[in-house]
């Protein structure tokens, strides 16, 4: 369908996106690394339980950790080889997680689930769960849970906004695999009981918008280029025109949102039976020799990826796993790709400015750009004084989606997101104490 314009909402910020570094580079496949380290905790909820033993030989696509409970996801071997170790070590975010280390034998022997032909909604749902598919946008919510909502859903929104600067993996995926994404979206819509399909794409990707216009059952919405357009609540408002009320789920508004990467993974899982053990990432930033879009196996180390892209050029001030607005800064390259990492960025001191914060001017720019219409400066002010209750009340902190727009725009470079996270944690602990 011909693209229509998305609805306007107040807030958000225009960020220099720097996507031109990598958006025209066709996707390459990263050669198989000799060792992969696969975390068993790749989604929200409980970590999966390892079901292989040290010394056991595995094949590509074999289940190595089983989902533990409803909100959890299966984890698969991404190379064929031998399980060398199962160990505890800190993940990129710093939490201790269980990793399965697999030494590749180079055979690349694959074993997939049986492909589904003319699947029923129940079969699709089961396959989404079996294949360990999670939200590929970054949150990592298990897709099977999302696709079994308690309230009736009439619209499936595919998130092609990719509002984060630098990242272009969704952009390339949309150009190169538009057909698979649409087929995947149709499967998800069928699982939801025949929901209508809409896709929201930011206006700075006209080639992607054009790629989806030929499909008659897909409503294409061209969105304003404004961060955070890809935020679930704002995407739903822009595309469908419905509000997700505070504290409610998108399903309560009759909408389910999936990333383009998730739709692609669903298509592969249904048609080929391929579980989720591979994803597309962007390697970019001023300090990378040649920015690239790559298909990488889950568990590949950051070092292998960077070496493939020609290594560093110049001094790296910050290395980021994920996007520059919400990603995690990593201390060394001994970290591993998960189902939710969208990119690896090596940033120079010019790109990732790290100047000391100065006094807050009360300019209110953070409140102007806040897509949730909150008051970040109040949170920062009161949490600095240790009064987390006032911080949460006056700043509206518990509604915050931590998009980082406030801190981006702050002329005094105040660490607002840090204050917000601290306040949220403090309020949650206080609440937990009260309930005891």
């Amino acid at each position: 369908m011909k693209a229509v314009k998305g609805k306007f909402f107040f807030g958000g910020v225009h960020i220099r996106d720097k996507k031109s570094l990598s958006c025209d580079v066709p996707t390459e496949v990263l050669p198989e690394p000799s060792v992969v380290c696969i975390s068993t905790h790749q989604s929200l909820g409980k970590p999966a339980v390892p079901c292989v033993e040290v010394g056991q030989s595995v094949v590509e696509g074999q289940l190595i950790a089983k989902a533990n409970g409803a909100v959890s996801s299966n984890v698969f071997a991404s190379v064929a080889g031998v399980v060398r170790e199962i160990k505890q070590m800190p993940s990129a975010s710093g939490a201790e997680e269980t990793f399965v280390v697999i030494q590749s034998d180079g055979s690349q022997f694959k074993e997939y689930l049986p492909p589904l032909v003319q699947p029923s909604p129940e079969q699709i749902l089961e396959r989404i769960f079996q294949a360990g598919i999670v939200g590929m946008g970054g949150a990592g919510f298990p897709a099977a849970v999302k696709d079994a909502p308690k309230t009736p859903v009439d619209t499936l929104v595919i998130n092609g906004a990719e509002c984060e600067p630098y990242l272009t993996c969704d952009h390339r995926l949309m150009i190169e695999h538009a057909d698979e994404i649409v087929r995947g979206a149709r499967y998800i819509a069928a699982a939801l009981g025949g929901a209508a399909i809409a896709i929201g794409i930011e206006r700075n990707k006209p080639d992607c918008i054009a790629a989806f216009e030929p499909y008659d059952d897909v409503k294409v919405v061209s969105l304003a280029k404004r961060y955070p357009m890809g935020s679930e609540k704002h995407l739903i408002y822009s595309v469908v025109g419905r509000y997700v009320r505070p504290g409610k789920l998108p399903a309560d508004a009759g909408v389910i949102v999936h990333n383009v990467g998730t739709a692609y993974a669903v298509c592969q899982a249904v048609e080929l039976g391929k579980p989720l053990y591979e994803r597309e990432i962007t390697v970019s930033g001023g300090a990378v020799a040649s920015p690239k879009n790559l298909w990488v196996k889950i568990g590949t180390s950051v070092k292998d990826v960077i070496d493939y892209c020609g290594g560093e050029t110049g001094r790296v001030t910050k290395a980021v796993l994920g996007g520059p607005m919400t990603g995690t800064a990593i201390a060394d390259y001994d970290k591993y790709i998960t189902k939710t990492s969208g990119g690896i960025l090596l940033m120079t001191s010019k790109e990732a400015e790290c100047s000391a914060p100065t006094a807050c001017l009360n300019c209110g720019k953070c409140a102007d750009v806040c897509p949730m219409h909150l008051m970040p400066m109040q949170t920062a002010f009161y949490s600095n004084a240790g009064d987390f209750e006032s911080a949460a009340k006056l700043g509206g902190t518990m509604h915050c989606i931590e998009c980082g727009a406030c801190e981006y725009v702050c002329p005094a470079k105040r660490p607002l997101i840090q204050a917000i996270r601290k306040t949220k944690a403090a309020v949650r602990t206080a609440k937990a104490k009260e309930e005891k």
């Binding site: 408002y237 060394d332 940033m347 006094a359």
Partner: protein, 346 residues
Amino acid sequence: MDNSIVISTPPHVKSARTTKGIMLDVIIALLPAAIAGIVFFGWRAAVIIAAAVLTAVIAEFVYYFIYNGGFKAKCANAGGVCISWLKQFDFTSVVTGLILALILPSTAEWYEVVIGALFAIIIVKMLFGGTGKNLVNPAAAGRVMMFLSFSITTYVATNFEPISLDSNLFTGATHLSGYLLGGTASAKMEWIDLFMGVGLAGCIGETCKLALVIGYLYLVIRKVIKWWQPLLYVVLSAFLSVCLAATAEGASFDISLFVDYALSGGLMFGAIFMATDYVTSPKGVYGQLVYYILLAVLTSLLRFYTKLEVVSFVIMIMNLIVPLIDTYIVRRPFGYKREKKVKEGK
């Protein structure tokens, strides 16, 4: 990899805008008004501007030097302290000094200006915690203090001989004061002269409206202030003044006075450069709306009843209730819906 890699919470990219940059923008926006003032009022204006700016900067430096962390230790390391001061210097004191100078008449004595600037920086700004912590606009407070202390010289602007066209007009008070006091000044003033500031008595930076409009446009284009803020203040205030003037005995509703009210006195300068001061204006957009409407109402009421030029006073008064506005006027979160009250009984 180097060991100096930085770890922090996201976001990892930040806008290029800094406090220093914003203050430089404000200074640039003030320059046309300052130049116009020097052209119209001669060397006296230049002396006042220089005195106010220098005093403000030096006062801030001296305060920085004495306060916090042992005077003796700082004396021993004077060079290091100077460098650290320069590093944190963000031009806010320059802005304060410049604004203070531009809202003074050219007849003010240099020592009065020095006292005013010292008051503005030391008492109003630094004692409350420096940049970002002051309760009221330092320049407005300095001007009000001078108005109350040296009222004759600072309020009455008489030094207008060089371009004086019609001696009747410039008997002392600003155009607006003359008009409010029952004079017939407006009948003789052409709107274009009022706009250009030619042959108009008033404070150094307030007379040439063209310079102010240039400054306003610059600030809006650089997105330092929101375009509707000064506009709301000036238009609403002038309109209310016209309405109030119509309530006087024997007067009728005369919309042609609108331009006189809008362009007279310190209203435009105050609206563009003083009311929009970040530190002392509300943070949320609804709070700002309330703030500018209240400013306009108060200005027109006080102008009408006191027959004085009151913009600095009004801005100071409104600054004091800004914390209240910020606490009680809060935007609802995105998607929030007020729950309908269920009627009880029946």
